[in-house]
Symmetry: C2
Subunit: 113 residues, 2 copies
């Protein structure tokens, strides 16, 4: 299983990021990843089938919002906060703040919490 493609910082587009964050499940994933730690795929809990979760993680990755690393058969996901902040200053914080206030994507979480 080869490492998945990721956009370089300059390939990250506003349209792509806005599109990626225009879904409550993906905003929920964003909130989970906002602790800036790497999380295992299997640790993630979302109210969708695993194929759908894979799809959403792919959308986030392709947009440059997250980075996915493969290790054996396991995957680890993390937020590309530095790249996003460099590219679109303030955007991530604004979305995270708004998502927290409106409690968007609340049904997404981590195992055992």
């Amino acid at each position: 299983m080869k490492q998945a493609w990721h956009p370089t910082p300059s390939e990250i587009t506003l349209t792509g990021v806005m599109g990626a964050l225009n879904d409550p499940v993906r905003v929920g994933l964003l909130r989970v990843l906002a602790d800036d730690r790497e999380h295992g795929w299997s640790e993630l809990r979302a109210p969708v089938a695993k194929s759908t979760l894979s799809y959403h993680l792919r959308v986030l990755r392709d947009a440059g919002v997250t980075r996915t690393r493969q290790e054996g058969t396991r995957c680890f996901v993390e937020l590309r906060r530095d790249d996003l902040d460099a590219r679109f200053p303030g955007l991530l914080d604004a979305v995270l703040g708004a998502a927290h206030r409106d409690d968007i994507g609340a049904r997404v979480g981590l195992a055992g919490t």
Copy 2:
């Protein structure tokens, strides 16, 4: 022609705003309206048919991004900056800054510019 419906500030949702700003034409309109002045409908120039422009302005209005006022047969549109800033601090500026840097919606403009 009665005045169109607008969401109250508390009815403005992050999901709605993100969805509204997830289209280059609408981001272009946002940039045009970012001067915080009221603009006449007929003043707006976008690379779409007038029925499509009407549709986009409706999406922005329904999301709470803009306010539309009717005066006779004419319409005037303005950005609801205060409401958006109160609801989602920093979001509008972040999007406007990013849109400017990436030149999103550049084909939208005003007549005579």
